[in-house]
């Protein structure tokens, strides 16, 4: 007999037969683990004889690969084979839009729906990364259901790089190209309740004929369109499991709409299963903290002291990590204020080399830097600059010169780097010379879904006064971000007070006296 290490809450969430179920999952409750187990239960028990697919839906491609790999390992790769599968919402949107095009609801300019959808209009003739105040164009539908270019109402509808001339956009579409943002825009127009009912009905029918169940992970990252798709699935008789933590919604800037999710949960009468999850935490302190956070109770945090050791330092943005000189923390990403000059991008390549040396992983932003410099690989090209950086006798200008000599193409003169690049280089040398083993620095956004034994959180709002308790409010995104930062540690969490970033105002955290 195979012993299932699932606890009661997880078992209940994995084996429920409720048509619509919302798993309110606390941090460290094992959401992906639950989704993996539930997937197998759905495919091989609850919907064993249903020819339609069980579909796992995630937001990020990394999460999609992770879930697909775990389901495949646990249940066999046939389990996630067609018609079942794991996809991102972007991929599901594409499938729905293609269905509408193939079935003649939507008139696609080239007649053939593209087989590949790009992330952005980067490098397309006519697209610009700096549209300034010019009108941006996006795709939408006219009354006849034909795809047309129209003025973008929001920046999110036409993210940079974008088109400021509608003919460039329609030319690119007619040539068979498309981006995820365009798919979203057209599908949003098609599914608008004010638009034709037949379009929404077609989307419902596509979902209902293709799938018997949807499992959506990190449901509070859903935006308006995602929520509409889930509702259309429910109307087609598809059963749904939504897994998420309302506290961990950090993507409002991308259009995530937690309020929308709460509305769907209420309107469709989802059955809620609570999965607070203390599995991550190895100490009573952390268990207490996590439980109080999950139950929205006031909580205490302890200030970091000299001599504490940490595996990770978390902050709200990269700059907070770069500016922190009291501790040896090596930020894993480029400073937020770094200029776009070629030299600044060379600095990111150098940073990447250092990060790889200490932690064996790539720095955030290195792919973009490589692309901007048109560099395929840095193999063997950073070594010289790195050696100079580590030699305190060498002036930093020589490090910059070495980078320039290596990467500047002949006949080209590079612009002068900004101040931020200069100061970041100084800090990088300091870290290389002074710290034998700096702690890895990450933003809270990057840390979502991850865990470490000992975590230091850089924060300017939390009170570490032993006589005070902090109260977070879920409706503020920056409070939710604090919540995520507080729940990453398995054993020990400490807070280091930092002055807030003057450019991103924070909502103050209410304090109460400890009883």
């Amino acid at each position: 007999m195979i012993v299932h290490p699932m606890n009661s809450e997880q078992l209940r969430a994995a084996t429920t037969r409720a048509p619509l179920c919302y798993v309110k999952a606390g941090p460290g409750s094992g959401k992906t683990y639950l989704a993996t187990e539930a997937f197998g239960f759905l495919r091989h028990e609850r919907y064993r004889d249903d020819p339609r697919g069980v579909l796992g839906v995630t937001f990020a491609r990394s999460a999609r690969s992770e879930l697909a790999a775990r389901v495949g390992m646990r249940w066999g790769y046939r389990t996630i084979g067609w018609p079942s599968g794991v996809c991102t919402f972007d991929e599901l949107h594409r499938q729905l839009l293609r269905y509408l095009v193939v079935h003649g609801f939507i008139d696609w300019p080239s007649g053939r729906f593209p087989t590949k959808v790009d992330d952005s209009w980067q490098d397309h003739p006519g697209s610009t990364g700096s549209p300034g105040k010019r009108t941006r164009y996006m795709l939408t539908l006219n009354d006849e259901g034909a795809v047309v270019a129209a003025k973008a109402i929001t920046e999110r509808a036409a993210p940079k790089p974008c088109f400021t001339d509608p003919t460039h956009l329609t030319t690119a579409i007619a040539a068979g190209f498309c981006t995820h943002a365009d798919v979203r825009n057209v599908l949003s127009a098609a599914m608008d309740p004010q638009f034709k009912r037949t379009f929404s009905a077609a989307v419902s029918s596509c979902l209902g004929r293709g799938y018997c169940h949807l499992i959506v992970d990190e449901v509070f990252d859903m935006n308006h369109l995602d929520a509409l798709v889930v509702e259309r699935a429910i109307e087609a008789g598809v059963t749904v499991t939504l897994v998420g933590d309302p506290w961990q919604s950090l993507y409002e800037f991308r259009g995530a709409s937690p309020d929308e999710v709460h509305r769907v949960l209420q309107r469709k009468q989802f059955q809620t299963i609570e999965m607070p999850g203390a599995r991550r935490y190895l100490t009573d302190d952390m268990r207490t903290l996590a439980r109080r956070l999950f139950d929205e109770q006031p909580f205490a945090v302890i200030a970091a002291r000299n001599g504490d050791e940490f595996d990770i330092v978390l902050a709200h943005d990269w700059n907070a990590l770069w500016d922190e000189r009291r501790i040896a923390v090596l930020p894993m990403g480029r400073p937020s204020g770094l200029d776009g000059s070629e030299l600044a991008n060379c600095f990111v390549l150098l940073l990447n080399e250092v990060v790889r040396g200490y932690f064996g992983r790539d720095a955030a932003g290195v792919v973009e830097a490589r692309r901007k410099l048109s560099v395929e690989t840095c193999e063997g090209r950073i070594g010289k600059a790195l050696a100079l950086l580590r030699n305190p006798a060498v002036a930093l200008d020589d490090v910059w010169a070495a980078l320039q000599a290596e990467f500047q193409p002949p006949g080209v003169r590079w612009a002068i780097k900004g101040k931020r690049a200069t100061s970041s280089m100084e800090r990088l040398r300091e870290l290389c010379l002074r710290a034998s083993s700096p702690a890895l620095g990450l933003t809270i956004h990057q840390s979502k879904g991850l865990e470490w034994d000992n975590v230091l959180l850089l924060n300017g709002e939390l009170s570490t006064n032993p006589t005070e308790l902090n109260c977070l409010e879920r409706r503020h995104e920056d409070h939710r971000s604090v919540y995520v930062g507080l729940t990453r540690a398995r054993m020990k969490l400490r807070v280091l007070h930092v002055p807030g970033n003057p450019f991103s105002p924070r909502t103050p955290i209410a304090r109460v006296k400890r009883p």
């Binding site: 078992l11 239960f41 495919r43 018609p83 269905y99 008789g237 059955q271």
Partner: protein
């Protein structure tokens, strides 16, 4: 297909007309290439076939590929098609062929999951007794699962596994098995010197699919009147073994129309139902998870998964089969395809019976053209329904596929055929090549007046099956029908119509008066076409065979044939027949004998 066998130099495209197709045509038209391409491009092929030798691959093209495209039919719905439609596209993929260690190796991403596009391949070189009674007995397990699904909605075969487990358990605990095990155990312990803690078992009680298959491979047999008379398959004739294997395959394909779960719309009272579900204990829930694990393990071995589409590929099923059984086989397979939307049947054949039993729309004729082999899908010719009906009748009446050849002579009646071939032999004379040509020339009796449908079917320049189509008809003293000059012009030299004026017998007279005298001269005056003292003439011969002599046509034709054979030097080949045979002969060259490499 490109870069293998018949598609060695140029791409070869084959469009299958639907879920039932019959590939016919002469050798080297590409039939086996199509079969090989289907087998090589599909991941799940039963029975397991070893990869062919690399000599399959052409060295003349850089990348050898097989492009496979399925299409969803709006008029022929199927369970898989319905599901694919919701997911937006029919499967299509490219398989790339490379050579590895002297064998063909394939790479390609068939998009569907294992078990959803299974191919069941019955090759003419297989041995059904070995397949069913050997390692491929797994098929029988699939058959049992399919039956379980039909009868009880459960394909796990739990009960059967339990029964067998009990039986085996009771056997292995009995003398002498238990005692023998003990003795082997002692030896093993000595051998391993107590290192490994393994205990040998002569009998296993784990009843998985492999075990079931092993049990049933001994049970397959065909019976006389009673089970007791049943003979082991190895001793049975090949024909019946072939049919039995086919029957097992067809029955083993699960019937999706029985298994389909109705899609239930969400109703609110399901929510109320679930209140009781909330009170389940952890143990009960763990049992669900265990069930899911067991089912996952079972599903991993299933050959047919979910809404599958099974392709049954029958290569030359006529082998070892009586012609009547061949005809019946096709009718039955057509019925299966009609009733089972998840089944597709593809047959390759050289059998007249099998082609004749099919509808013309089912046929794909593989031909040799100047540009190499090609395939012609008759359904895509868009023939008028009346033309198709005539073609169907021709196949049915003649029970012959002989119209589908490269050089073909169509005649109206059997006497024309007999007489024409006799004169053609005279034409050939002592020329060995011409003689062989005439001997193998296809002369097909249409049995009625030849109509334009034959031209559309065989010699349409857009999709020609025949490179030379000659028609021998009676003029009956009238000008040719209007379609003849049009079709002749349109066919770009592929079609010619020749007339016996006004009918067969009088058209033979010119130059052969001696033959007529020799064959009919001894008859009474009223039984021959000329008066005493007069000479035979065209009008008289025409009048005679058109009235009182009609019943003598067949006998006369036989006599003409015999006369020609014995008097080849003196008979004259009638001009229209001479023209016909030269038209058909033109451009014909015997295939060159293979050169012996030096």
């Amino acid at each position: 297909m490109h870069g293998l066998r018949a598609a060695a130099t140029a791409p070869y495209v084959c469009n299958l007309p639907g879920r039932f197709s019959v590939l016919a045509g002469a050798n080297s038209g590409g039939k086996s290439t199509i079969v090989d391409a289907i087998v090589l491009s599909h991941r799940d092929v039963f029975p397991y076939t070893p990869r062919p030798s690399s000599s399959f691959l052409s060295q003349k093209v850089a990348t050898r590929t097989i492009d496979v495209r399925y299409a969803i039919s709006s008029t022929d719905p199927s369970p898989l098609g319905d599901l694919l439609d919701a997911h937006g596209a029919a499967p299509s993929w490219t398989t790339t062929l490379t050579s590895s260690m002297g064998r063909v190796s394939t790479a390609g991403n068939q998009v569907l999951t294992e078990g959803q596009l299974p191919v069941l391949y019955l090759s003419p070189t297989r041995n059904p007794a070995l397949d069913l009674g050997g390692r491929e007995a797994r098929l029988i397990v699939e058959l049992l699962k399919s039956q379980g699904l039909r009868d009880r909605g459960d394909k796990s075969l739990k009960e059967l596994r339990g029964l067998l487990g009990g039986l085996i358990g009771s056997v292995v605990n009995k003398w002498p098995v238990a005692d023998a095990e003990k003795r082997v155990g002692i030896h093993l312990a000595e051998l391993t010197d107590g290192v490994a803690g393994r205990v040998p078992y002569l009998g296993s009680t784990l009843i998985d699919d492999v075990f079931l298959a092993r049990v049933f491979e001994f049970l397959v047999s065909t019976a006389g009147a009673q089970r007791g008379d049943a003979r082991r398959l190895e001793t049975e004739g090949l024909g019946y073994s072939n049919l039995l294997e086919l029957a097992v395959i067809l029955a083993a394909i699960p019937d999706l129309t029985h298994a389909a779960t109705p899609i239930m719309p969400l109703v609110p009272d399901v929510v109320a139902d679930d209140v009781s579900e909330e009170s389940l204990s952890d143990e009960e829930r763990q049992a669900f998870m265990r069930d899911a694990e067991e089912n996952a393990a079972l599903d991993d071995e299933t050959f047919f998964a979910g809404n599958f589409h099974a392709v049954v590929l029958l290569e030359e099923p006529e082998a070892h089969l009586h012609p009547q059984l061949q005809h019946g086989l096709v009718s039955y397979l057509k019925e299966v395809v009609r009733d089972r939307p998840e089944v597709q049947v593809i047959i390759t054949t050289h059998s007249d019976q099998i082609v004749a039993a099919s509808d013309p729309e089912d046929l794909v004729v593989c031909v040799q053209t100047n540009d190499g082999p090609a395939s012609r899908t008759i359904k895509h010719f868009q023939l008028a329904p009346s033309h198709l009906a005539l073609a169907r009748r021709q196949l049915d009446v003649s029970r012959s596929a002989s119209i589908f050849t490269d050089r073909v002579v169509l005649v109206e009646g059997p006497t024309d055929a007999v007489v024409f071939r006799a004169f053609a032999r005279v034409w050939a004379g002592a020329d060995r090549m011409k003689s062989r040509f005439v001997d193998s020339l296809t002369i097909t009796v249409i049995g009625s007046r030849v109509g334009p449908w034959l031209y559309r079917l065989l010699a349409d320049p857009a999709q020609p099956i025949s490179s030379r189509l000659a028609i021998l008809g009676d003029s009956d003293g009238k000008p040719p029908p209007r379609w003849v000059p049009i079709a002749t012009a349109k066919s770009l030299g592929r079609l010619q119509v020749f007339y016996s004026d006004p009918t067969l017998e009088p058209s033979l007279l010119a130059g052969n008066v001696e033959m007529f005298k020799a064959l009919l001269g001894h008859k009474a005056e009223r039984s021959r076409p000329w008066k005493n003292g007069a000479e035979p003439d065209v009008a008289g011969v025409a009048a005679f065979f058109g009235s009182s002599g009609r019943s003598r046509k067949a006998g006369f034709a036989d006599d003409v044939a015999a006369y020609c054979e014995n008097n080849a030097d003196t008979v004259t080949v009638p001009a229209h027949m001479q023209a016909l045979i030269e038209f058909v002969w033109e451009g014909f060259a015997m295939p060159a004998a293979p050169l012996i490499p030096t």
